[in-house]
């Protein structure tokens, strides 16, 4: 242990592993943003557990210097939840693709919202199944046809923000993988991590290889003079619930978020759609298990249990 420790920089969260994403993939921007967010919060790498699903996006943990669990397709959320339940001293971040999270994993996406466990879930939303060669993912809108698809999509896109609200996430936001300043996404992720409760960020991510519709160029366009991507705050939108004891405010903010979430096309809002500091699952657990508030589950003394009372009841 060194007495004086240098502050951590984003480079402290990188690994020497060869990154095998396509050149210019939007995922690069997200990895950097995660690293910057962790540096911003000065969370030591060994206190971070990254979980991922399967897809291009699923490879993320290998590129971040932190405990890394690259799980199964669609199963990142319950894995991350288990990790967090076992050790609430860990900063738990789950990442995965839009197919992984909103398609095969949508049941877990939905049910984690209700649980309000304190973890952060970042979905890399590129509109396609990247790793399986560009089929339409759930966020690709009806009628859209990327260069990788033989025919246009015939299903509606689903709305991740609305879904997250309906599921009960207490931090619901949207980011963009390649923001020019470079720190907007990092800051948003940092806020998500700091939020106590289930945080969800849908991150618009370019896939230059398969998605030729939502390209960097498209995102950077200014239809009718306004930049397509804008921050909700620019419009004075306020998604944070001020008084969580007031159900009316909660409902109003949720409805506002859903309404706003359908804005798409010429104007695409980024930032926090909704946030409320409600009791977390961990806090609720303390009501059942007083120890839960004092030490991580894995450190409890469970090796010397006395079951004689239980046995006695069976006589």
């Amino acid at each position: 242990m060194i007495a004086e420790q240098k502050p951590l920089t984003y480079k402290d969260y990188s690994t020497p592993v060869h990154i095998n994403w396509c050149p210019a993939c939007g995922d690069f921007g997200i990895v950097t943003a995660i690293q910057k967010a962790l540096a911003k919060l000065q969370i030591p790498p060994h206190r971070v557990a990254m979980f991922s699903g399967i897809g291009c996006s699923g490879k993320t943990p290998h590129y971040i210097n932190a405990y890394g669990f690259h799980t199964l397709h669609g199963r990142v959320v319950p894995n991350a939840s288990g990790g967090r339940l076992a050790n609430r001293d860990l900063t738990v971040i789950a990442v995965g693709g839009d197919g992984d999270g909103y398609g095969i994993g949508s049941g877990y996406f939905v049910n984690a919202g209700r649980r309000n466990l304190n973890f952060t879930y970042l979905v890399f939303d590129n509109g396609v199944y990247g790793l399986t060669k560009g089929q339409a993912a759930p966020t690709l809108a009806r009628g859209m046809k990327t260069k990788s698809m033989p025919e246009p999509a015939i299903q509606d896109s689903l709305n991740p923000i609305a879904l997250a609200i309906g599921s009960g996430y207490t931090f619901v936001a949207r980011g963009y993988a390649l923001d020019q300043s470079g720190d907007v996404l990092a800051n948003l992720i940092a806020e998500a991590i700091q939020h106590e409760g289930s945080s969800f960020v849908d991150i618009l991510q370019t896939c230059p290889t398969y998605n030729d519709l939502m390209t960097v160029k498209w995102f950077n366009e200014k239809p009718q003079g306004n930049s397509r991507l804008y921050q909700l705050t620019e419009e004075g939108y306020e998604g944070v619930v001020k008084d969580v004891s007031n159900p009316d405010e909660i409902i109003a903010k949720k409805a506002q978020a859903v309404g706003k979430s359908y804005e798409w096309g010429d104007r695409v809002p980024l930032g926090i759609f909704y946030q409320a500091r409600l009791r977390t699952y961990e806090e609720e657990l303390e009501g059942r298990l007083p120890n839960y508030g004092t030490a991580p589950l894995i450190d409890w003394d469970v090796a010397h249990r006395d079951v004689s009372k239980l046995l006695g009841a069976l006589r």
Binding site: H46, P78, G82, G83, R84, G107
Partner: protein, 628 residues
């Protein structure tokens, strides 16, 4: 049949208190010092379908149920004569199961009319339950509560049955008094009163003579049992105790028969026992959450039955490939396939549990056969998971979960928790010279693991094939080494797990016939062996195969290869263990006795099946006495 044993049975509609009443009687008998074996049958239904609870009492430990009934308590007509209007049903009521001079206790104000009985060699003891209840309550000035307390008509009927069994009504009433304490003591007294009323009524109707004599059995209970009341323990209790003692941190589950009981029992005690029990959104979440927790350093487990297990298979393959220490998965089998018979018995999941995911991968599969074994295996399963860094599946079933048997003590000595090989960085940061490799190739294939949160212990893990660092690689040489590392741990486990945990052999070494089986058939087999010896002079032994993967090739070969004659006993359609034994040892078991009607083997059924197999030499004998 073991002569001298008595069976008491209560039947009626679900939701009508069958399980509570059955358990009261079983506990009463157990407290008398009798050796009790009891079990419940019920439908996948909340209210109305026929359910029944059998209590067998004996002077010695018994491990199976009997078809024959001495006293039946019928809470409805169907219990006695079946539902004559039902389509496609073979159940014709429990009256048929009564021994000659058996007694049927029923509500004389109910639907059943004695004329419907087709037997004259039994006693139909109609009891005016509500009238007696009212009268009893009148004695304490509570007649007006009779309707509200109508559930206590059950107690009246039970009281009557106690007389028919030749039991002691005071000891019986005491069970209620013990159950209702403090503020609820009055309820205990009222039940005691009701029990007495039923007893008196029966005494009067039967002319003061009980056809059966529980007390005689009581007197015959041999010494050697622990002093004080025995445990009356179910398999699911033993499992829960094993887990608690093993230092389980987290149990995840999704409700499903017949596994829910275990999780609910743990849940009810989580506060006192410092355990986290999480009800998940489904079984996929249950196992994945358990894997996530195990990766984070927790001892984790989950419990389910066939339909849930079918959703967990990807998790088992994943945990195995990534060398997660666990989770321990309890698979409480029920009647399959598919949703099947959710609340019924079957041993049909062996083959599925043996190879429950794609690819060649290691996991441990063990099938305990009685409460003590269940305790031992659920305890040890966590050590295996930690030591060999692989998931462990414990294969049990509905019958084991619900059967309650007298047991002097659950042995819990010399329990040693082994968390396996753990990496400690001692403050060194990752990459600082001595780089930590989570999946390092080691001599025995086990790589020390670190717990997330440990400085310097950072690692990666992936469901893709990976290098020692835990990063994806498709390299051919690494692949070969990793396959050998993982599969090699199975050989390690096989070499370290003691023989006594692998198989158990019962009966004489030079038996005329050797029965082979696994899991819950053990109880019926042991009872049958005894009977065959007594009644037929057949000297039979039994080889219980307990560890199913890694398969104890040598032990099984040694136990079976000199047998004079082999018969397989399984509670499933195909005789799955027989195939496994042949695959692993080449030994062909030429005869099978099977039962696949969704119920466990009764003693009579198995004895009949074995007699038939012995007499005919038939390759395949199946039995069913077609009860409800």
């Amino acid at each position: 049949m073991h002569k001298g044993d008595l069976t008491w049975l209560i039947g009626g509609p679900q939701g009508g208190g069958i399980d509570t009443s059955g358990l009261v009687f079983a506990r009463y008998a157990n407290r008398c010092g009798l050796r009790v074996f009891s079990n419940i049958e019920y439908h996948s239904n909340i209210m109305g379908e026929h359910s029944y609870y059998r209590v067998r009492i004996a002077s010695k430990d018994r491990h199976s149920i009997l078809d024959q009934v001495n006293v039946v308590v019928a809470l409805d007509e169907e219990t006695l004569i079946g539902d004559p209007h039902a389509d496609f049903t073979s159940f014709k009521g429990h009256l048929q199961e009564l021994v000659p001079s058996g007694v049927a206790v029923y509500d004389s104000a109910g639907k059943f009319k004695p004329s419907e009985a087709t037997r004259s060699d039994i006693t139909l003891l109609g009891v005016p339950l509500m009238d007696l209840l009212k009268e009893a309550l009148r004695g304490i000035g509570r007649e007006g509560d009779a309707n509200r307390l109508r559930i206590m008509t059950n107690t009246i009927a039970l009281g009557a049955s106690v007389f028919a069994m030749g039991g002691d009504i005071e000891l019986f009433a005491q069970v209620y008094r013990d159950d209702f304490k403090g503020a609820r003591a009055e309820l205990g007294e009222m039940n005691a009163l009701a029990a007495n009323a039923g007893y008196e009524y029966a005494a009067q109707q039967l002319g003061g003579r009980s056809p059966f004599d529980m007390k005689a059995i009581e007197a015959a209970v041999s010494n050697g049992h622990a002093t004080g009341p025995s445990l009356l323990i179910r398999g699911m209790h033993a499992c829960a105790f094993g887990k608690l003692k093993a230092g389980l941190h987290i149990q995840t589950y999704y409700p499903i028969s017949p596994a829910t009981d275990e999780s609910v029992y743990l849940e009810a005690n989580q506060r006192d026992q410092n355990l986290l029990v999480v009800q998940c959104e489904d079984e996929i979440a249950s196992i994945q959450m358990a894997v996530g927790a195990a990766n984070a350093g927790a001892r984790s487990s989950t419990s389910t039955s066939g339909p849930g297990f079918a959703l967990m298979v990807e998790g088992i393959g994943y945990a195995s490939l990534t060398e997660v220490p666990g989770p321990v998965v309890f698979l409480w089998q029920r009647g399959g396939p598919s949703t099947g018979l959710p609340t019924r018995q079957d041993q049909g999941d062996l083959r599925f549990a043996l190879h429950p995911a794609q690819g060649d991968f290691p996991h441990i599969l063990v099938a305990p056969a009685d409460p003590q074994q269940i305790f031992d295996d659920s305890f040890e399963a966590f050590n295996w998971a930690d030591r060999y860094q692989m998931p462990v599946v414990v294969l049990v079933d509905k019958y084991l979960s619900t059967q309650s048997a007298s047991l002097d003590e659950l042995k819990m000595e010399n329990l040693v928790i082994d968390r396996g090989s753990r990496y400690r960085s001692n403050g060194r940061a990752n990459g600082a010279g001595d780089e930590y490799l989570r999946f390092a190739f080691t001599e025995n294939g086990v790589s020390p693991r670190s717990f997330p949160g440990e400085e310097g212990g950072i690692f990666w893990s992936t469901s893709d094939e990976h290098d020692p660092r835990g990063h994806i690689t498709e390299d051919a040489e690494n692949r070969i080494l990793m396959m050998e590392k993982r599969m090699g741990k199975l050989d390690l486990a096989a070499s370290e797990i003691p023989g006594g945990r692998k198989i158990s052999v019962y009966g004489p070494a030079d038996a005329d016939v050797t029965l082979v089986g696994w899991g819950s058939v053990k109880g019926s087999v042991l009872d049958a062996i005894e009977l065959l010896a007594e009644e037929d002079g057949v000297r039979a032994s039994f080889v219980q195969i307990r560890l199913l993967k890694p398969f104890p090739v040598e032990e099984v070969t040694a136990a079976l290869s000199n047998a004079k004659r082999l018969i397989l006993v399984e509670n499933n359609y195909t005789g799955q263990l027989g195939g496994l034994v042949r695959e692993m040892t080449g030994i062909h078991i030429p005869q099978k006795v099977l039962k696949y009607d969704g119920r466990p083997f009764s003693e009579e059924e198995l004895v009949e099946g074995l007699r038939k197999a012995l007499a005919t030499g038939d390759a395949r004998v199946h039995v069913s006495h077609l009860s409800a």
